[in-house]
């Protein structure tokens, strides 16, 4: 019995590796394991060489290892490209009737995928289901559970399609049961999950969390790897009374979102680096007009077009200093799909309480990966709309959008209230919202807008600390690397190394840190991040006065793994 299994599904774009990984992941999540998938994909629709990685574990997991116990290869290329990440002995499942192979270092197990698909599934397209069934067998899973997942996945398709796929799964399962090489099966020690789990990717989690937080307006422009957020909202817009619009470009999107927020609703957009760059003028607009907006920035490797379908954490500085001029903004960066819920709900609350733009930094790794979550772990902060008013008060036409208050936060009013008008202005302005050229007022207004940062900092959740109490090694990290760093710390601890992690999911404004350890006494503080210049490390050092002794960086478009960290510590 093992604790941990990793399965790769390789093939050309369009062959459905992601579906196989998802189906298997969900099957095992339902069976009480923790599963997690990561997709290593090229920017093309058909062809090329992609790899979906599924990890199944009996403890929480949200990273992969790039060491495969099992590789399902849907084409020859898939074997060629990935054979060096197969553990020894390891096993490759492939269709020996289509691909001719000589014995390699890993074990080979030919499953006649296409033949079984045609026979059992009545259609070549059920090849994926055959492969899925075979893997279930090899992992000693339950074929019935898998069929259930297939049924859900194909909900909306005809009964015939569903039946075909279920037959294909069963046929793959049975074939593998009967023919698998002796000792090839993997038996993962069960995890003791009491309640049923959810299996969900980061994009869906972000979109769902926004809907659960009262999203009422979404405008965006497609851009990998953020598009799934938009498509999710689009699909649900009517059921949840959300106005959703595909904009002509990102500039339109952000300005629509600012308009909707001025008009009184919770509004959001999502994009990636290039689109975000185009939005920065609009973010400055939100800063000046004090309009609460939420922008999800799903990072991918840059500069420019870069690697459209891969992962990186290199847009932190851009986000932090986005927009001309100086104004308060908030930057949050969920570590897992589960954390998207609390983060997104807080994003809307902070935006509305402080009337500032809030940027949620994610990346391809978080957005495209599926995570196993316990429902009880999910948290949505209760809605707090701050000083938003819906009914007019005071003498007619006396409302002032930017009335100067100690806190910097002026009461908002939804436009359209009887005998009051709401004036927002991108120029420097009076309390009433009209253009001003006064030096004195300018100073007050700058201080008003920037003054909010202090109060926001006091609300920022502290970083997550875990591991040894008086660590010799402290890994400092942020965002989607959470899983890999946590795993690295656990592995180091197991080896007897006193390591700990300090993980930031809320990045700016950084609060005063109250830590269980004394930073000054730690010999080896290491910033771990998915970029080339150590952006968070620098921010950390300005903020704490303690400069990390070292950085572990990755910037080849692939996610950081525990092993990647450990070999570089």
């Amino acid at each position: 019995m093992i604790n941990d299994a990793e399965i790769g599904i390789a093939g050309a774009a369009g062959q459905g590796m992601q579906t196989i990984a998802f189906t298997l992941g969900k099957t095992f999540a339902c069976a009480g394991y923790f599963s997690y998938t990561y997709h290593d994909i090229m920017s093309r629709i058909r062809g090329g060489s992609n790899l979906s990685v599924l990890r199944i574990k009996n403890t929480p997991v949200s990273s992969i290892s790039y060491h495969l116990d099992l590789l399902v290869a849907l084409d020859f290329e898939g074997i060629l490209k990935n054979k060096n990440i197969i553990k020894k002995p390891g096993l490759i499942i492939y269709d020996g009737e289509k691909i001719k192979l000589e014995r390699g270092e890993a074990g080979l197990f030919s499953v006649p995928l296409e033949r079984l698909a045609l026979e059992a599934g009545k259609d070549k397209v059920t090849v994926n289901s055959v492969a899925t069934g075979a893997v279930v067998a090899l992992l000693n899973g339950e074929v019935a559970a898998c069929c259930e997942v297939i049924r859900e996945l194909f909900a909306g398709k005809s009964e015939e399609v569903i039946a075909n796929n279920i037959n294909a799964v069963k046929s793959g399962f049975e074939y593998a049961k009967k023919n698998m090489p002796a000792g090839a099966g993997l038996q993962i020690k069960p995890a003791n999950l009491a309640a049923k789990s959810l299996f969900i990717n980061g994009s869906d989690a972000l979109a769902l969390a926004a809907i659960a937080s009262g999203l009422k307006f979404y405008a965006g422009y497609p851009m990998s790897p953020s598009t799934a957020v938009m498509e999710y909202v689009a699909a649900k817009a009517n059921s949840f009374k959300i106005i959703y619009e595909q904009a002509e470009d990102e500039i339109a999107a952000i300005n629509m979102v600012v308009g909707a927020a001025y008009s009184g609703v919770r509004a959001m957009t999502a994009t990636s680096g290039g689109g975000f760059a185009l939005m920065t003028e609009g973010i400055s607009l939100a800063g000046m007009t004090e309009t609460p907006v939420v922008i999800v920035l799903t990072q991918r490797p840059g500069p420019a077009t870069g690697f459209p379908t891969r992962t990186e954490q290199a847009d932190l500085n851009m986000a932090l200093y986005s927009g001309h001029g100086e104004f308060a903004k908030v930057i949050l960066a969920p570590g897992t799909a589960a954390e998207c819920f609390i983060i997104i709900s807080r994003a809307f609350n902070l935006a509305e309480k402080y009337q500032v733009p809030v940027i949620v930094l994610t990346d391809q790794c978080l957005n495209d990966s599926s995570y196993t979550l316990k429902f009880s772990d999910l948290e949505i902060e209760p809605v707090n709309r701050g000083q938003l008013g819906f009914v007019p008060a005071g003498e007619p036409y006396t409302y002032q959008r930017y009335s100067l208050k100690e806190t910097g936060v002026s009461p908002r009013l939804v436009p359209g209230c009887e005998k009051q008008v709401v004036c927002e202005d991108s120029d420097e302005h009076t309390e009433a919202g009209h253009i001003s050229e006064s030096a004195e007022l300018r100073k007050l207004m700058v201080q008003k807008r920037l003054g909010k940062l202090k109060a926001i900092a006091a609300e920022i959740r502290p970083p997550a600390y875990s591991g040894a109490n008086e660590p010799e090694i402290l890994l400092v990290s942020w965002g989607s690397t959470f899983g890999a760093v946590k795993e690295a710390v656990e592995l180091l601890n197991e080896k007897g190394v006193k390591a700990a992690m300090l993980h930031f999911s809320e990045i700016w404004p950084l609060p005063e840190l109250e830590l269980p350890c004394n930073l000054a006494q730690i010999k080896n503080i290491i910033a771990v991040e998915g970029n080339a210049t150590g952006q968070f490390g620098a921010l950390f050092s300005v903020h704490t006065g303690v400069t990390p002794h070292k950085s572990i960086l990755r910037f080849d478009g692939r996610p950081i793994t525990a092993e990647y960290i450990i070999t570089k510590v």
Binding site: K196, L198, F199, L208, I211, A212, G214, K216, F217, A219, A237, N238, F240, K241, I243, E245, A247, E248, D249, I251, A252, A253, N255, M256, V258, G259, A260, Y262, S263, G264, V265, R266, A267, E281, G282, L285, T289, F341, F375, L378, I380, V383, F390, P392, Y397, V414, P415, G416, E418, Q420, V421, V422, C423, E424, D425, S426, D427, G433, H434, I435
Partner: protein, 286 residues
């Protein structure tokens, strides 16, 4: 009953005395009053430029955003706050240069907005540079040897995009201007009016006199049918000795608000925020 005085603003007007914008401001107030709209029922949205300062000069809700970006902001405002009358003002640079893409797509979207472009064929606020509608040959700060790009014909472009209401007015004829403004405001869908607006400081070519000598009213031609797209297109190209004013093109098209059950008849911003239950949302993921 709402009166023109109700629209008075105390904000000091920063336009040059004699600027064509004054007449547009005054006409807008007339139109709003004649339609019985109160200041709080109206939102004026604008970008940046001389024209874009207009919202400050009458009492009303206003969102004065970025140069070129008024239309998307207005769309966001209207989409969730349906009962508002959302009116957008901008200059020719704002509308056709920096904001050119939004102009195209706002027409395609056909949301219930009204767009008044103060077309002075020049950049006023930045002190006199060529705009997309500047006449060829005109010397400006950025075209010292004369403007050479083909001037954009906003009427023709709007018709090519099948805009549902396309009109031209002249700031020097406030009677017609008020009439057109009212029609535009009453039109359901995206209504677009290009208003010829003399800039007395930086455009010494297209003066009051210049326009006055050229404009004529389409409404005086009984044979003109603004619902015939081809005819309208041909007429929209007329620019030179004669410049047509009035409603150049009109058509019936589904309005943005009619497409979705959400945008049809509610003002989202006024609804109490009822959150869906997380359990329900997550059903598919268990």
């Amino acid at each position: 009953m709402v009166t023109k005085q109700d629209y008075n603003s105390t904000d000091p007007v920063a336009w040059c005395p004699g600027c064509g914008n004054f007449s547009i401001l005054n006409s807008l107030k007339d139109a709003l009053v004649e339609l019985g709209l109160e200041p709080w029922q109206v939102v004026l949205v604008s970008g940046i430029g001389q024209a874009a300062k207009l919202p400050h000069y009458l009492k009303c809700n206003l969102f004065n955003g970025l140069h070129g970006r008024a239309l998307p902001a207005a769309f966001g405002i209207k989409a969730v706050n349906h009962k508002l009358k959302v009116i957008v003002h901008g200059g020719d640079g704002d509308a056709y240069a920096e904001g050119g893409n939004h102009f195209v797509h706002a027409i395609r979207r056909n949301a219930d907005l009204t767009y008044f472009v103060h077309d002075n064929q020049i950049y006023g606020l930045t002190k006199g540079q060529a705009s997309p509608t500047t006449d060829p040959g005109m010397k400006t700060g950025t075209t010292p040897f004369g403007s050479y790009n083909e001037p954009e014909q906003p009427m023709a472009v709007a018709i090519a995009l099948n805009a549902s209401f396309v009109a031209r007015a002249f700031a020097g004829d406030p009677v017609q201007l008020v009439k057109i403004m009212k029609s535009a405001l009453l039109h359901r869908g995206f209504s677009f009016v290009d208003i010829l607006q003399p800039c007395i400081t930086f455009n010494k070519t297209n003066t009051y006199q210049w326009y006055k000598e050229r404009v004529y009213k389409l409404e005086e031609d009984p044979g003109y049918d603004p619902r015939d797209r081809s005819v309208a297109f041909t007429r929209s190209l007329e620019w030179g000795d004669k410049i047509p004013t009035g409603i150049i093109y009109e058509c019936d098209r589904p309005v943005y608000e009619d497409h979705s059950p959400v945008s049809k008849d509610i003002s989202l911003c006024r609804e109490k925020l009822v959150l869906p239950k997380l359990e329900d949302l997550l059903k598919a993921y268990f």
